[in-house]
């Protein structure tokens, strides 16, 4: 089985990583050793544009599910980062200060945003989708919301 579900829209390849959990807003959560790593989906980074700044809350901050834990500023817009999981921020991806483009180039890997110590993991995960569900949602969004992914 491949690591990603993928589709092509216009000339862009859009991927959804298997094994992760997804919110409708375009954020993923990956559970690793009782910690949760969080990032943005390929679809969200592509539609947002080239990332110029990533501003994240500090380590030790608590966040609720769907509450803002930072903002992502691109060349064309500002995106609120909404946590798919409630918990305490344990780690912040410091590399994004100097290399915010990692969010664009590797959204499921080196472009991760924060890791959390989850507070209510079981219930929070129930509110999220698996890769197949998010992939379906993404395809629908592409058909209805985005006639083009290229900038206008």
């Amino acid at each position: 089985m491949t690591e990603y579900l993928q589709t092509v829209f216009d000339k862009f390849e859009l991927r959804v990583r298997r094994g992760y959990h997804y919110s409708e807003d375009g954020f993923w959560a990956s559970v690793e050793n009782a910690r949760v790593k969080v990032g943005v989906t390929d679809y969200l980074q592509r539609t947002s544009g080239d990332v110029a700044f990533v501003d994240l809350v500090r380590r030790g901050s608590t966040v609720e599910r769907q509450a803002e834990f930072g903002v992502l500023e691109t060349a064309k817009t500002t995106v609120s980062l909404l946590s798919p999981i409630s918990g305490t921020i344990e780690e912040v991806n410091g590399r994004l200060v100097e290399k915010p483009e990692l969010v664009n180039s590797d959204p499921y890997g080196e472009g991760w945003l924060v890791t959390l110590v989850p507070r209510n993991l079981e219930d929070d995960l129930k509110a999220l989708m698996g890769a197949d569900g998010y992939f379906e949602l993404m395809l629908n969004k592409l058909e209805t919301d985005h006639r083009k992914l290229e900038s206008k």
């Binding site: 080239d50 110029a52 700044f53 500023e73 060349a75 064309k76 483009e101 180039s105 900038s151």
Partner: protein, 136 residues
Amino acid sequence: MKATKQKRAVVIPCSGIGKALGSVSREATYEVVENLRKGVTDTTCLALIVSGDEETLQLVKNNRCIAVDGCPLQCAAKNVKLAGGDLAASFRVVDTLRENRHLKPKSVTFLDHDGQELANLLAEQVAEKVDELLRK
């Protein structure tokens, strides 16, 4: 016989057609070459470099080059180097954007106000670099 001293800087934009930052790179380059440092700078098409046009390759090999890239892919800088050009400096529009956070260039085809302002700011930075390179 001594080699002729390099007296020109060649400014090469990426001109990426899909993003506003590509348009900004192009406009900044024109501002330098046609206005700020007219007479001591030149520009050329990145496509001619990549496709191996002989005249263009000689231009970039025999002059100090400044790449002006829209985004972190850095097509201009990488390809000038690959072609054996003398890449003396490299700018990324996204870095100038980071220094001017209030600017949000949206339009690609014709630069909007923010895009034009960003291009002007970047052009000033490139012009300073031109001066530095030509002093050496």
